[in-house]
């Protein structure tokens, strides 16, 4: 697939990006970026949200064309006008967001665009054989005939990697592949990466988790505001130093200072059981209590019932058994509206799906979810002035970077969208905050701000249910920690004592008989 390295001397770099500049309307995503990736290494790319990492990788993968600059693969200059060109040059990419068609099978997703043929037809047998072979070789364990819709996140991630391997890529781009994985999964993945590296493949790796980067990378390039600010080797640098290079300031840590837990019960859940549409038990007899001023963290591999728990608490999903009490009031059968009015704030897992109206201005997004309370409404009428004024306040207090409150939410970057949501859900003094992955995909600066807001509200007696895949965040922010596994709360941990590794093994059920 890829051209032979030039005979003799040092091998040409697998990838050389020179003076890449890419402008979007109003934004220069990349400006004069220079990166050299040695063949057969893992090369990490770090930087804040919006620093331009994904854009750079998309350029390398032919999905976007640079305005200026050149790309050289194995020493030979190339121009990619579509991913097809990049794939032909031996480049594969696992995207930050899943690029999978839910309603197609794994096989169909994998072979798409590079189908084996028998006559004009698709050679299903050949495809199946090849997928099984790769899957076995790398221990990916995916069944080619399952529908992607039925897969969990971990499996989807592996399908993504399979897609790349299937095309025989020699250079792999992994854009935040670990964001949704637990430590054990991350270790497995890194094991795979090392295998691949041993076979001479080159890997470009993007992550916000700096310790991961330090553990797996051979070289690290730091990108800030669209340009390369440093190239370092992991031996000579610490996570703290890396973060400083990224943002130019100290690395914040999730940390609660002193306990504010009171003995006033805010939320009490007893025997909560939820069935899925097809009758499976997705939440099984779950019970817990959260007090005023307490943060309860829930750890778990995605897809073990967290989403269902949150939706059941919010009244989006009905429960088949159990009791939910909020400040002494039974809300088991209450509507979502009623629960929100009773003082539940909600930071959803997927802000685009549940948190925002992307095609509506910020001030209308301020009303969303709070359309029955001041300052947004007066009686049945909207209080447009009130809502706008309060949106200004949120933009101010939460440092939402926007030219105004009249722009559509879609125009904001993810981190800024998240800050708006946090600000909104913290308004009107809620008694309980349900926060699902509140800092996912948010850069370190914004992360610190969000943590600080949660801390402050907790000090003012807010009860918080925190669900996160970031174990450091969970350990640092929680007063109490529970692990959820297959719809059941299986263990409680003391955040002061537990390590991410212990938590990780509890999450996967390792060492337990079930």
């Amino acid at each position: 697939m890829s051209p032979e390295p030039p005979a003799g001397g040092a091998p040409a770099p697998a990838v050389q990006l020179s003076a890449i500049t890419k402008r979007f309307p109003g934004v220069v995503a990349n400006s004069d970026v220079n990166i050299t990736v040695r063949a057969g290494t893992v090369h990490a790319l770090v930087g804040e949200n919006g620093a331009g990492k994904s854009t750079l990788m998309k350029i390398l993968y032919g999905m976007q064309q640079p305005d200026e600059g050149t790309i050289a693969i194995d020493g030979a200059p190339v121009t990619f006008s579509s991913p097809a060109d990049a794939i032909r040059a031996g480049i594969g990419m696992v995207h930050q967001h899943f690029m999978l068609a839910d309603n197609l099978t794994v096989l169909e997703n994998v072979v798409l665009g590079s189908e084996p043929r028998k006559g004009v037809g698709l050679d299903f047998a050949a495809a199946r054989a090849k997928i099984t072979e790769i899957s076995t070789a790398y221990g990916l364990g995916v069944d080619p005939d399952r529908l992607v819709d039925d897969l969990g996140v971990g499996e989807r991630q592996r399908v993504e990697i399979l897609k790349v391997l299937y095309r025989g890529a020699r250079t792999l781009i992994l854009d935040e592949p670990t964001a949704v994985l637990v430590p054990q999964e991350v270790d497995e993945l890194f094991g795979n990466l090392r295998d691949l590296k041993a076979e001479g493949l080159t890997i470009l790796f993007i992550s916000h988790k700096l310790d991961e980067v330090l553990s797996v990378a051979d070289d690290i390039t730091v990108i800030r505001r669209g340009t390369t600010v440093a190239s370092v080797s992991p031996e000579g640098v610490t996570a703290r130093k890396l973060a400083e290079l990224m943002v130019g300031s100290a690395l914040p840590v999730p940390e609660l200072r002193e306990s504010t837990v009171t003995d006033e019960t805010v939320l009490s859940v007893e025997g909560l059981t939820v069935l899925s549409a097809d009758g499976r038990t997705v939440l099984d007899n779950v019970s817990f209590t959260i007090h005023a001023g307490e943060v309860l963290g829930i750890a778990g591999v995605e897809g073990n019932g967290q989403a269902e728990l949150v939706e059941a608490l919010m009244g989006i999903r009905s429960c088949s058994a159990g009791r939910i009490t909020l400040s002494g009031q039974d809300i088991t059968r209450a509507t979502t509206r009623h629960r929100r009015e009773a003082g539940i704030g909600y930071i959803p897992e997927d802000r685009h799906r549940q948190g925002l109206l992307l095609e509506a201005p910020l001030w209308e997004n301020r009303i969303l979810g709070h359309q029955t309370s001041a300052p947004n409404v007066r009686g049945p009428l909207l209080d447009r002035k009130g809502a706008k004024r309060d949106t200004e306040r949120i933009v101010d207090e939460y440092d939402v970077r926007t030219p105004g409150i009249g722009v559509n939410a879609s125009a904001l970057s993810g981190g800024n969208q998240q800050k708006l949501i946090v600000g909104r859900e913290m308004s009107g003094s809620p008694v309980l905050l349900i926060a699902s992955h509140p800092t996912r995909g948010v850069d370190v600066g914004a992360q610190a701000a969000i943590w600080e807001h949660i801390r402050r509200a907790r000090a003012e007696q807010l009860a918080v249910l925190l669900i996160s895949a970031d174990l450091d965040e969970l350990i640092g922010m929680s007063d109490t920690l529970s692990v959820i596994l297959r719809g059941r709360l299986v263990a409680d941990h003391d955040p002061a004592a537990v390590t991410p590794e212990q938590l990780g093994s509890a999450m996967t059920g390792a060492g337990r008989e079930d």
Binding site: G26, D32, R225, Q354, L358, A360, L368, P403, S413
Partner: protein
């Protein structure tokens, strides 16, 4: 609504005007290519535009189209596609005409009669639309299919009822058949316009009220907000406490109720009976007008007037020898080109907005800025 700056106003006008010019050009080419004179066409239209009667007819058509468009738009705002406005208004007009023409109604005061007729029409329209809503929320049946089916079923129901043995009566010597004529007390008087024997529908006021209420409810009330929110993102609406099923039912009922009004200006202002020549197909015109007016209360009014004028200019074209089908072609081309123009302007706006956000983030500068 965005702030009104001279540029945004200009942009807002550029799209429809540019599109109209383009549509005129396309039609001109078609006419010329088929041996018809574009000049004559323009001339005929200009003549029509100066004839009071044509204008009155245009306004009357627009009144009805506007009501149909609002009915459709209520659904559209929520991503519901009510193709059934057609069946809803026909059934509603037929049943309310039967009621309004009934003998016992003669004893009621005029205002009450009219109000009752209109109320029944709204109820029937809402009821017929409600069937589709019910099927959707309880059984998940796509409203696109159910309303197509209900349109057809309404046709059969109406013709079953429009029978001398049931709700209709025949006039000797006439080949028409219709409900009993509504006597004067049940009619809504129109507005005289000098130079035209035809009057402007009195119920144009009803259309105006419906437009204002539509605007107010959508942009000023909690309910309107939830309706729009559901249309923009169902999942976000659910998470924010909106019961989507309830919204589907309510908005479908509202849409049907407004659909029920569609036949009223014609029934109470001109026909006074529901008979074989009661205009059909208004629901489909409503779809086109709602789309052209982008579900916007003022936009739809403009679109309805344009549509009404084109329809009523057809006679003038015919008389000057231009094939009247060119009107249909013109309407299609206008819809397409207006929408393309809107899309181009929208893209331009999005870019401008992103630029503004970029500025707010301090990211517009390039190399020099980064080196800091």
């Amino acid at each position: 609504m965005r702030n009104l700056t001279p540029r945004s106003v200009l942009l807002g006008l550029a799209a429809p005007l540019g599109a109209l010019v383009f549509a005129a050009l396309v039609c001109g080419i078609i006419l010329a290519a088929t041996g018809n004179s574009p000049i004559d066409t323009v001339d005929a239209m200009a003549t029509a535009a100066q004839r009071p009667r044509t204008l009155v007819n245009s306004v009357n058509s627009a009144t009805v189209y506007y009501l149909a468009a609002v009915a459709v738009a209520i659904g559209f705002r929520m991503k519901l596609f009510n193709i059934g406005v057609d069946g809803q208004y026909r059934l509603a007009a037929m049943l309310s005409a039967a009621l309004a023409g009934a003998a016992f109604m003669d004893n009621l005061p005029s205002f009450l009669r009219i109000a009752l007729t209109i109320a029944v029409a709204m109820l029937v329209g809402a009821g017929w639309a409600g069937l589709a809503a019910l099927l959707k929320v309880t059984r998940g049946v796509s409203e696109v299919i159910s309303t197509i089916m209900l349109n057809a079923i309404a046709t059969y129901l109406v013709s079953y009822l429009l029978n001398p043995a049931r709700l209709a009566e025949t006039t000797a010597g006439s080949n028409n058949i219709g409900t009993a004529k509504i006597t004067e007390g049940g009619q809504v008087p129109g507005f005289e316009v000098s130079g035209s024997t035809t009057k402007v529908f009195g119920l144009i006021l009803l259309a105006a009220i419906v437009g204002v209420v539509y605007w107010f409810v959508l942009s000023r009330t909690k309910f309107g907000f939830e309706l729009k929110a559901t249309g923009l993102s169902e999942s976000a609406a659910v998470a924010s406490g909106v019961s989507v099923k309830k919204m589907v039912v309510i908005s479908m009922l509202l849409s049907g109720a407004v659909a029920g009004l569609v036949g009223m200006p014609q029934l109470l202002g001109a026909s006074y009976t529901y008979s074989l020549d009661f205009p059909p197909g208004l629901g489909f015109v409503g779809i086109a007008v709602a789309l052209l007016g982008r579900n916007n209360p003022v936009g739809m009014a403009v679109a309805a007037l344009l549509w009404g004028f084109l329809d009523n200019a057809a006679n003038a074209l015919d008389i000057s020898g231009v094939p009247r089908e060119i009107v249909l072609i013109m309407q299609g081309v206008i819809v397409l080109s207006v929408v393309v123009a809107y899309e181009l302007v929208r893209r331009y706006r999005v870019r401008a907005e992103q630029q503004a956000v970029g500025k707010a983030l301090g990211r517009t500068k390039t190399l020099e800025e980064v080196s800091a």
